[in-house]
């Protein structure tokens, strides 16, 4: 009885300490709720959303991009309410892969998906998602294990008899509450996973057929339709906290493919001084406004190598939160470069958002390369190969020195210099 009384006073005092801390808010572990309604009571519920975890640096809620290596480079994951911009590689071979990883992660963790594309039907995109690893194979093995366990439970342990007293471990991996899964690119996602998931598709040729009465605005019609579609989904399904009766909060994962390409009615890719100069940037601003006030995360792929006006690329980068650029070696002179012979391309982390914080942790590794193996998309640190030649041949050293200049000048998003120094 006395123990219970002291326990209760203990909890009350810790409760008051917590209350004092939240009043002074000295602690930096602020769990960020949806930006529209950032109350403390709402924050405690958010941690229980599957597939998310709070960041250790500033308490932001993070979701996985589908690639654990990329999550690590982005500081733990993609923050909820932000935009991940993928600058497409030249022939658009690897950026759809990152796009699909993001969507597949959403299906596995049970998030709602919104897929928008002007080129492919979203249903087809979902069919081509990679299959998650470990879940299906383990399931069959676990069923067999459970059957075997039942028959062996009566066998007493003779030597390690202390372990008999421990509770039996759950052999089945708890898949959907984990953060970051691995996928097998050579296999397709099982049909039942797609059918069990909730997704909305926006296929531009279907939606644009209806004429709409809108005041003339500098946004192109397709962008307006897409914004209205996204806003409808967010509002109707309560991702912006407008429907407080919903018990289980969930994340909306938005994926927009090939934004800024001519298929979206935008002409920034073929002329330098175009009429709709501000269409894409205005769209990105409105999208940012929608995301900041809802529980959603967005991935966009933009063919920046096609945009003629460099100023627009700079503005697009400033309006996005996380920017990752892909540079593939196909068709460039780097394909035959001995430095890059093991890899398929370079990946540049151009920008990481600085949310709720003055600083952000920048990884020291600036030279990253990716490789698409048969089953996996890996991101590795790029380093010079060892010079294993017996004789010091001048020509090979010259090649390597030239390739060493191609290595990123050690610049990151904090500072980019005019020229780099060779040491």
């Amino acid at each position: 009885m006395a123990a219970a009384a002291t326990c209760s006073t203990g909890t009350r005092s810790t409760g008051s300490v917590v209350a004092a801390a939240s009043r002074n808010s000295v602690t930096s572990f602020q769990r960020r709720g949806p930006r529209a309604s950032g109350t403390d009571s709402g924050c405690s519920r958010l941690v229980s959303i599957a597939g998310t975890r709070p960041s250790v640096r500033n308490g932001q809620l993070l979701v996985s991009t589908g690639l654990p290596a990329l999550d690590q480079l982005l500081g733990g994951g993609l923050a909820v309410g932000t935009v991940l911009l993928i600058e497409e590689d030249k022939y658009n071979i690897y950026s759809p892969l990152l796009f699909k990883y993001f969507l597949a992660e959403g299906i596995v963790t049970g998030h709602t998906l919104l897929v928008a594309s002007a080129k492919e039907d979203p249903a087809d995109i979902l069919q081509e998602l990679p299959a998650p690893l470990l879940d299906d194979n383990c399931k069959k093995e676990c069923d067999e294990d459970i059957y075997n366990h039942k028959t062996e439970s009566n066998i007493k342990m003779k030597i390690a008899w202390r372990y008999q007293l421990l509770p039996k471990m759950e052999a089945r991996p708890v898949s959907s509450s984990r953060f970051g899964h691995y996928y097998d690119v050579s296999k397709r996602i099982p049909q039942e996973l797609i059918e069990a998931s909730k997704w909305h598709g926006f296929f531009l040729p279907e939606k644009i057929s209806s004429t709409l009465n809108l005041e003339p605005c500098s946004l192109s019609h397709s962008y307006i339709k897409l914004l209205q579609f996204i806003q409808n989904i967010i509002y109707e399904e309560g991702f912006d906290g407008s429907n407080p009766q919903k018990k289980q909060k969930n994340i909306l994962r938005i994926g927009i493919q090939n934004l800024g390409s001519p298929l979206w009615g935008d002409d920034i890719c073929w002329t330098e001084n175009c009429d709709s100069n501000h269409s894409l940037t205005k769209f990105l601003y409105m999208l940012r406004g929608l995301l900041r006030s809802s529980l959603s995360a967005c991935i966009i792929t933009v063919p920046t190598h096609l945009i003629q006006n460099k100023a627009i690329i700079a503005r697009v980068t400033n309006l996005s939160d996380t920017v990752v650029g892909l540079e593939s070696f196909i068709g460039s002179e780097k394909e035959t470069n001995p430095l890059y012979k093991d890899y398929h391309g370079l990946i540049h982390i151009r920008q990481i958002p600085q949310l709720n914080n003055l600083i952000y942790d920048v990884s020291d590794v600036k030279d990253l390369a990716f490789k698409l193996k048969r089953k996996l998309f890996t991101i590795e640190r790029l380093h010079l190969p060892p010079d294993l030649s017996d004789t010091v041949s001048r020509s090979s050293k010259q090649d390597l020195a030239e390739s060493a200049k191609l290595l990123g000048p050690g610049c990151g998003m904090t500072a980019r210099g005019k020229k780099h120094l060779d040491f």
Partner: protein
């Protein structure tokens, strides 16, 4: 508010200069720490602040402000801070059109809009109270940031006009201050941005320019800050004073040191 930056600028919250236009610009790096500094500085100096935050949400500034020792929620509640949250208002004005003019009305217009509704919002927010008893020291307008207005379709001349009107009202008439952040696009050849930056550079009394290091990324030195004091009203006065420091951003503070004197090197 960073105490070291106050020392460099020779100001304290107790004695702030009045009637000044401060230009913050960043080139190849992120200069938002300067915005956080000035926001917390003017709130601590007991000034009435109108913050036009176009690029981030309220909770972002609030959380960083708490690290720097000011609470934006209390300031907003007691009327010291008027906060225009650009992202939220943009969604409102775009999807739910209202009849009365909204400060971000230009988002619904096709051609390069004018910022008059925004100016009227600022005017309304910082207007000195007629009751006679001045509760706050001086009005301050803080804009983060002006380059976003260019991305939203407003012309550079319209933005310059807006700042001119704000300066005439806030700085001249009401003896307040205006602080604005503009991104320098560098070699991205953004002509509109260059027009805006040069135009504001000629009008401002103090220019704080955060740049990246010329040698590239460094873990211990995050960038370089150039401070330039100007006297735009006196043409051929003494030469403008300029100082350069390097800085490192920490969790709750930014430390400044002379070039090459980073504690990591010494």
């Amino acid at each position: 508010m960073f105490p070291e930056l106050n020392n460099l600028l020779n100001t304290t919250p107790d004695q702030t200069e009045q009637g000044k236009l401060t230009l913050l610009c960043d080139a190849k790096t992120d200069g938002s720490f300067l915005v956080h500094h000035f926001l917390s500085f003017y709130l601590k100096a007991n000034c009435k602040v109108c913050f036009v935050a176009l690029i981030q949400s309220f909770s972002h500034y609030n959380i960083v402000g708490q690290k720097l020792g000011v609470s934006l929620t209390t300031a907003r509640e007691c009327g010291q801070l008027v906060f225009l949250e650009g992202l939220k208002s943009a969604v409102d004005v775009f999807f739910r059109p209202q009849e009365e003019p909204h400060p971000l009305q230009f988002l619904r217009e096709a051609n390069s809009g004018n910022l008059q509704p925004l100016y009227e919002f600022v005017q309304e927010a910082l207007k000195p109270m007629d009751s006679g008893e001045a509760a706050w020291r001086c009005p301050v307008l803080l804009v983060d940031d002006l380059s976003v207005l260019l991305s939203l379709g407003v012309g550079a001349v319209a933005v310059l006009d807006f700042i001119h009107y704000c300066r005439a009202t806030v700085c001249r008439e009401w003896k307040g201050n205006v602080v604005a952040l503009v991104h320098d696009s560098g070699d991205a050849e953004d002509e509109e941005n260059d027009i805006l930056l040069n135009g504001l550079g000629h009008q401002s009394h103090l220019i704080l320019r955060a740049e990246g290091l010329a040698t590239g990324f460094c873990k211990d030195v995050h960038g370089q800050l150039r401070i330039l004091w100007r006297r735009p009203s006196e043409p051929t006065a003494q030469r403008d004073r300029s100082l350069t420091y390097q800085y490192k951003i920490q969790d709750k503070n930014v430390s400044f040191f002379a070039k090459g004197m980073s504690p990591a090197v010494l």
